[in-house]
Symmetry: C2
């Protein structure tokens, strides 16, 4: 199909498609003349994946490119694909060098040891969690620290279910794509359902002024 039909099929503008082609997020079509190229179903699918990562996941173009490179690599372990996706999703928190950060690091290390988690020092979630716990301390709020074990227990159980669901997909390319989509779209779905569950749980308190 021509670029105009690719645009119509996916709802992505021709200008955006050309931008993604230039940025390497979308492989080039098959040249049919010096000024025209033909695109196939693989382009439709890839374009939808790109939009999901950017629009729903909030990933940058560079982050999306890293994730796609990991998805496309034949030899890369699932582990590394997840790592690239998580890096792009959680981003690089900048840690303040103060006592609050030091204490938060200890709190998180203790949690990891207590739960027996296998998590590398370089996991992007670690840095993000430390920054959030340190921010909480600086703001003098204890709500998150008090709930830390509840969060960890809940997310550990959920992660096991999520990984099982993804791995049961069987074929490597399906597993990889499901892992990426599950990580990115799952984060959005969790945030959305949490927002709904909060309203429902606090509905009885609506009268409180």
């Amino acid at each position: 199909m021509r670029v105009a039909e690719l645009s119509r099929r996916t709802g992505v503008s021709v200008a955006s498609i050309k931008y993604y082609l230039r940025e390497g997020l979308l492989p080039p079509g098959e040249r049919t003349s010096p000024n025209q190229a033909a695109y196939g179903e693989a382009h439709v699918r890839r374009l939808r994946l790109v939009r999901a990562l950017i629009d729903v996941g909030g990933l940058s173009v560079a982050g999306t490119r890293d994730v796609l490179a990991a998805v496309d690599a034949d030899e890369v372990a699932l582990h590394s694909v997840l790592g690239a996706t998580q890096d792009a999703l959680v981003g690089g928190a900048v840690l303040t060098d103060d006592d609050a950060t030091e204490r938060a690091t200890k709190v998180l290390d203790d949690l990891v040891a207590r739960r027996g988690w296998h998590v590398h020092e370089s996991n992007p979630g670690r840095r993000a969690a430390v920054e959030i716990l340190a921010t909480s301390e600086r703001l003098g709020t204890e709500v998150l620290v008090n709930l830390l074990d509840t969060y960890a227990e809940t997310l550990e159980a959920l992660a096991r279910r999520e990984v099982d669901a993804v791995v049961s997909r069987g074929r490597r390319e399906d597993v990889v794509e499901s892992a990426v989509l599950g990580t990115v779209l799952g984060a959005g779905l969790i945030s959305a359902l949490r927002t709904m569950a909060h309203e429902s749980a606090s509905a009885g308190l609506a009268g409180q002024g």
Copy 2:
């Protein structure tokens, strides 16, 4: 204290402080001369809250202003503060008008009915969840839909614990600030711990190519 000390105490640059003053995120200090103002502990605290909302929560300046207005209003119910925070956090997803969106809306409405949730039509999480479920369908991935009830059950239990922890703070101003921080920082903490839990849960699969 002078603006320079406020900057030193909070690690926020003088230029940023002046920007927040202009944008109304920080109340003006007490004028001590035509060119100088004095700031107090309330400014330190508010500035830290602003940075948490912007840096950790990823809120826009406008979103932060909405949340602070709700925090500061005497008469506003806790419910509305949560609403403003959730609006700023989840943002306004733009729904595509297609069959996938229609089916996703039905899937979500059924879920809400099945779980007996009290959630207004206007809850920003609804729209975000519908868009994510519709995106999943367009991408042909079933992982999220298969896990939908698991997510809902998990987040319902978690939301109950979170609301309890916040309400137990007692004084209204503490409840409100805890609710805002819990919503925003909690979302970041969940994302970070989920990233760690995924690595731990998939650690045994590292060899899978």
